[in-house]
Amino acid sequence: MHTKTLTELAQGLRSGKFSSLELTHAFLARIKQHQYLNAYITVTEEQALQSAKAADQRLASGNAELLTGIPIAQKDIFCTLDVKTTCGSKMLDNFTAPYNATVVEKFNQAGAVMLGKLNMDEFAMGSSNETSYYGAVKNPWNINTVPGGSSGGSAAAVAARLTVCATGTDTGGSIRQPAALCGITGLKPTYGRVSRYGMIAYASSLDQGGPMTQNAADAAIMLQTMAGFDEKDSTSVDLPVPDYRAGLNNSLAGLKIGLPKEFFGDGLNNDMAATLEIAINEYKKLGAEVKEISMPNLKLAIPAYYVIAPAECSANLSRFDGVRYGYRCKNPVDLADLYTRSRGEAFGKEVKRRILMGTYALSTGYYDAYYLKAQKIRRLISEDFKKALADVDVIMGPVTPTTAFGIGEKMDDPIEMYLSDIYTIAINLAGLPAISIPAGFIRDMPVGLQIIGNYFAEDRLLNVAHQYQKVTNWHHHTPKGFE
C-alpha cells in the first residue's frame, strides 16, 4: 500500500480495497522499521489509530472528503493541540500548544490521519536538517547524505514512504530544496495563500506552508485543503481558491518557459545542467516554447535574504525567554540570568548566529545600511520577476546547485551552507509560488527541477508539473530498501 500515491489510496479507500485503519497500521509499522532515518520527532500512534477508525466510519457514511483516512504527517513547526510541538529545538522540547495551527485544523476537518510530527532544522534555520536538536535526518537515497532542510523530515518521510504526504514550510527554499534532494514533489505557494496561524514564525514576511508529496496531482489535493483566507492571519489573502485538480490535464502547447541566464551560468555544474536540459526538452516535446531571460538582481538574493530573515527572526524568537513556556534554565539568580542562560542553553548555534545577525542589522546606525538596503533589493528582485513573468508563463531552473551532500560536510561552513539555497531564495523574496519536481538522477541521487509561476498561479504550476509527470517516471522511483 505504501508505494501508492495519495490519489490512488483515496480511490482504494473508497472502493473498500483497504481501510484507513489498515493503511495507518501499515505506515506506523514502516515508521518503526525505519526509525534510524530519524524523520519523526513524535509519532502519534494512538491518536492516529483513533482518527483512522473515525475516518473509516466517515468513509462508510459517504460524506468523506478526498483526504479522509489518508495518513499525513506534520512538520513539527505547526502547532498541534495536545501533541508537543518542538520546532526542532530544545527550547520547545516541553511545549504543547493549546491550539491547532489553521493548516492542522483544516487537515483534521478533512479527516486526514496524522501519524506524527516531522523532524526539521531548529526553528527552520538550516538547509540540511542537521541543526535539529533531535539530530540529523538521513536521506533515504543514501543514508550518509542529508535530506536537505529545513523540511528534511518531511522530505525523507515522503521519499521513504513513511507517510503518504507531509506538510512543509518554505522561507528560503525549505520545501523545494529537501524535495529536490529526496526526489519528491514540493510546492511553495504564493505568500499569503496558506495561513501562517499556528505555524511557528521564523521570518514572517517569507514563511509559507505547502504540500510535500510524491507527485503534483497529490500536491493539488493537499493544497486544496491548505489554501484559503484565514481571519486569524492578516497576511493571508482573501482570494477565492481555485479547483487545483481541474486544470491538471490542460495542454502545455504554447506554454512559454523562461530560462534565466543567471540560473544556468557558470555556477551550475555540468551534470546538473545536462539533467535539466533533458527535462526542459521534455517540455518542448509537450509543445512549450523556451526563451532565455535575464534577471540581473538575482545575485543579490542571498545577501538580502540573510539580512531580512535574521532581522525578522531576531524579533520572532524573543518570546522564547524562559518566562512563560519552553525551556527555563535551572536556578536563575536574577532576570538577566534567567534570560541569558535559558536562551543560551536552549538555542542551537545556527539559531544564535541568525539572532545575532538580525539584531545587528536592526541596530541604530546599521538599520539603513542593512535592513533598508535589503528591502530595496527585495523590491528590485520582485520587479525582475514581474517583468519576466509578463513575457513568459513560467520560469524554470535548478532547485539546488548539487545533489544531496554528505552529513557533516557543510556544518562548519555556514556560507557554503547558505549557498545551497541560491536558486530558491529569490522566489521567497518576491513572494511567488514555485514547485520542485523530480527530474532525473546524478550518480543515483535525485535532481529537482524548479518551476516558478506568477502570483496565485499554483493551478498553472501544478498543471505544468503534472503534464511532465505524465510523460516521465522520475517521481515513481523509490529509494532502495523502501520499495
Binding site: 496561524y197 532581522a311 513556556y325 538599520y367
Partner: protein
Amino acid sequence: MEWETVIGLEIHTQLATQSKIFSGASTAYGAEPNTQACAVDLGLPGVLPVLNQEAVRMAVIFGMAIEAHIAPYSVFARKNYFYPDLPKGYQISQMELPIVGIGHLDIEIDGITKRIGVTRAHLEEDAGKSLHENFLGLTGIDLNRAGTPLLEIVSEPDMRSAKEAVAYMRKLHELVRYLGICDGNMQEGSFRCDANVSVRPKGQTEFGTRAEIKNINSFKFVEKAINHEVERQIELIENGGRVIQETRLYDSVKDETRPMRSKEEANDYRYFPDPDLLPVIIDEDFKSQIKAALPELPQAKKERFKTAYSLDEENATLLTASRQLADYFEAVLKVSGCEAKLCANWITGDLSAALNKAGLEITDSPVSDERLAGLLARISDNTISGKIAKQVFETLWQSTSSADEIIAEKGLKQITDTGAIEAIIDKIIANNQDQVDQYRSGKDKVFAFFVGQVMKEMQGKANPAEVNKMLKTKLAP
C-alpha cells in the same frame, strides 16, 4: 538668572474598545490575573495579531478632533526589548508612520488662549503588569492588560509652566472622554502621562537638556513632579552642574524624581515594520464617515451654549465640562421648556452640589433630566417658589416621585390668590407698627422683615413677586 521651563507631554490613553488591539480578549478592568489573556496576548508560538478596526476608528476620531493630518498609510512596527510583562519580547507600536500626524489643542490660562502643538498620535499595545508584592521575593506577571489598545499622544515642547502642562492634560482628558474613546479613569491607568522637562535661560532659543519623567497618573502629581524637576534642574545648573538626558521616576510619597536610566543605558529598540500586519490604509470615504459621526467638540459646544442659550462664560464652561452633563442640560431645557438660565443654575448649582456630595457622576444622578425638568417647569409657571423648589428637589433626590406628585402630596402649591396674601399683609402691618414707622422713615432694610413675616405666615407658599408688589403698595407712606 531668570529661567524658562520647557515641557512636552506624552500621554497614553487607553482606548475604550471592547476587545484588545490585536486579539479578541476582553479589555475589562479588574478581572482575576491572567483570565483575560488569550494565546495571542500570551505570545504563544505561532500566534498572529489581527488589528481591531475599532481602535483605528477611535484614533481617527481623535485625529479629526485636533484637526490633525490623518495618515492615509500608516505602519505598525515592532519595538524590541525584553521584559517579563512583555510576552513577545517586542511591543507592537508605530514608529515612522503614525496614524495621526500634526495637530493642535487650545488651552486657556488666565483667560488667555494658547495653542499647543500635537506632534503625533500613534496606536500601540499596552504591556502586562509585573506584581512585586506577595510573591515571596519573586515577581508575578498579570497579562490581562497586555494588548490593551493605547493611543500615545505626543505634544510639541510648547508648554512653559507646570500650570500649562496641567491645563493641556485636562483639556486632552476632557476631549478623549467627550469623544467617547477613553474612559479617562486615571486610577485604573486609562490616562497616563510622561513629561519631558527642561530649563533654559530666558531668551535662549535652543532647548536645554531634557529629563523624561515617567508614568505620572494624576493632574496633581503632574504639576508637582514638573515643579520639582524644574527646581532640581535649575539648582543643578546654578551650582555648576549639568543636566543629563535620562529617564526619571516621580515618587509621589517623597515628592521627588529619581533617575531610572540614562541615555547611555537606554534600550536600542531596533524598530522595524511588523511583517505580521498589513499597513493601515485610510481612505477619504472612511474619513468622511467618521467626520459625519463626530460629536460636537467641547469648545464649539461652549460657544454655542453662550450664543444660543445666552449663558454666561461660567455656566457655559461648567455645563460643557463633560458631554454627558451638556446632554443632561439640553434635555432638561427641552423637556421643561424653561429659560436656559434657570436650567443652567439648577444644574450647576443644586444638582452638581448634591452629586459632588454623593460622589456621583451626572450619568448616575438619582434625579433624571426628566424629573428635574418637571420641577423647573413648576418654578417657571409660578406653581412653587424657588425656595419651595429646594425642598421639592430634596425629595426628588430621595424618591422616585415626580415634582408634581411631591407638590401635591405635601401641599406646597404656591398661593397666588391676592386676597389671601392681602389679608395676611394687613394683619402683619397692623401688628408691627414700629417696623412700619421705621420703613416709612427711610429704613429700606426693614422691608425684608415684612417679606420674611409674610412668607413665614404662609409657610413659604406665597408668590414672592406678588408679596413684594403688594407690600410695596401697602407700606407706601
